[in-house]
Subunit: 413 residues, 2 copies
Amino acid sequence: MRLIAAEVLAIGDELLYGQTLDTNSHYISGELDKVGIKVVRRTTIGDRVGDILKAFEEAEARADIVIITGGLGPTSDDLTKPCLATYFNCEIKIHPEALQDVTEFFSRRGRELTELNRQQAALPVCCEKITNPFGTAPGMWFDRNDKIFVSMPGVPHEMRHMVTDEIIPRLLKKFRLPVIMHQVIRTVGIGESFLAERISSWESALPPHIKLAYLPGEGGVALRLTAIGDADAIRKEFDMLIRAIEPLAGEYIFGYTGDPLEVVVGRLLLERNLTLSVAESCTGGYLSHLITSIPGSSRYFEGSIIAYATEIKAKELNVMRATLESHGAVSEPTIREMATMVRKKFNTSIGVATSGVAGPGGGTPEKPVGTVWIAYADKEKVVAKKLHLSKDRLVNIKLTSTAVLNLIRQNVK
Amino acid sequence: MRLIAAEVLAIGDELLYGQTLDTNSHYISGELDKVGIKVVRRTTIGDRVGDILKAFEEAEARADIVIITGGLGPTSDDLTKPCLATYFNCEIKIHPEALQDVTEFFSRRGRELTELNRQQAALPVCCEKITNPFGTAPGMWFDRNDKIFVSMPGVPHEMRHMVTDEIIPRLLKKFRLPVIMHQVIRTVGIGESFLAERISSWESALPPHIKLAYLPGEGGVALRLTAIGDADAIRKEFDMLIRAIEPLAGEYIFGYTGDPLEVVVGRLLLERNLTLSVAESCTGGYLSHLITSIPGSSRYFEGSIIAYATEIKAKELNVMRATLESHGAVSEPTIREMATMVRKKFNTSIGVATSGVAGPGGGTPEKPVGTVWIAYADKEKVVAKKLHLSKDRLVNIKLTSTAVLNLIRQNVK
């Protein structure tokens, strides 16, 4: 079977000049990879007609599929649409259905359509419209001599919905793609190199047609197995590999799907009919945000107190002033009281808490930046844990939140 | 003065397959832009000799400077070094100084040098070594016919130190660079197309040597002016343009620097000696996270109550049960009480609140997904505002948080 090749093209001066981080190309690469389309190159160019047309030509020579993001806004520096019309040699006209979409988009928001908005419904006549339910700029699908060009707006969430809901299904219909199988093994609470040491015998015994990748992130290290071939046979091999890795690293594994830890923990709470409340200091709301980013979290999450000021820890969380004074806000006695108190106050099955020195300021010789306490409390026990994290404020906030979710996972079992 | 052009090249299958987000190219773009080097293209390719050599050739044709990251590790899939040796037609030999660097690197960590590590000190003889104080793979600097090729490892913090400490100073010495000036104008509370209409007279009167870009995001729409030339003259033009845009869109403008809204609002509170507390429902902690992501926020932010469950709104925030029962949690009377009550409870100058239907579930005909109430309360007034947002949960959470920050900005003035 011939491999189908794709090139991903991002357009925008703001990318080239280092003002906006391009996460779109990364997302598209991953989605194409999942369905067995080989990304052979990614290119980023600025808002100049000559550069854009040249990039189209080069990409078409290299790939079967060219996926373009950016340059579809209503303003004068948005050149992708006119360039596509030039490249495919056809005129731009108001697309009646697109006009209806954009009109409805604005009327739902109680706003009238401006002429600029109306122009967003104009499309090259040689393309098919790709509906954009989350924004005003429709996507475009061009098919010429079995080469596919897809153009989407650069707004990440608009683009993402279009990729999963429209583009991938269309590509699956258009091309005969190989069966690529992925198996993810998600771990938390262990670093990449330590994990690699633990599973080195398992890794070196992998058959040559199964590829392993380490994907480290703030929510843990994921392992991904990839294989091309007969789906049933690979499924069986993956299942055997899962059974074989569990004795080596099972305590760190929280799932075998794409679900992040906050989803797995939410499901655990729901299954056991448990409710959760949170007391946050150094994470400042991020832990609660992770939990509530999951639809349906209101079924187990009651609420939080973010006790940023020490006074709030005493007044709202009822942490004893004596504890705060003799041990400080970042200490085991304080964190144990925080978790216990928020649980009591919110009348939940479980209470968790965070308190630490997120940085960049606030460190002392005994409690340097990156010193964090976390705790878990239920009706039977209180578990506290000290973390030694990094010098980076945001990294510390994220790692702490992940560590708390892991503490829940370990203790709810 | 001739413009110096650069191309940024990232090498690695893990990038193309969507496993690792490439933040290196973004960082390098920004650093080159700051010193007036124009990035004309960014390219990402995989670990294949043919693709790498082709990309070198194409980049050299387009640019004066080619900056390469990745593919310098000790393993067999790291091809950048042999490809550079082939491209510049010279052999690879152990570089005595590089060998000393890598030997010291390992001895400082109490480890012995393996043969693989030793090979990292081998460099093409036609390049200059770039020291890598944070890792084992040195960088390389090639200068042929006044075209510069720089190769660095893909590990972000190693690369960053090399760029700022070695590469940029060398480029400044090598090329006579123009002054590129940027002026950012940050707005919030108005969509891109509405802003464009408001400032259309201003935009069409821009002199041809000043370029305008719209940069929309969840924290508002930023405008960016760019010009090349005499710094003093452009500075004056930028100042005039700022004075000219203010009568058209001043109410939406919150700053002229890179600072996001949460920094600007934090500064406003600090200057006025005001303190803040937050009551969150639909934003579930994200608003507090935005505020506390800023170092030093503890000087004005006291804390929050995340009242996710209705019961918590009554019990912890003291919203009257009659209000909740007759108007519901997503309503003007409830949001006004939430802001007022959190302010009182936390004894702060200002209280703000969010309550809405973030989605995807929970919508009704009267209160569809995307219906959100926000409020601001200080000792003199309470201001509430209804928002009609999107169908996307995370987008709604982020847009609501931005809207609350904007409400603070508007009312603290």
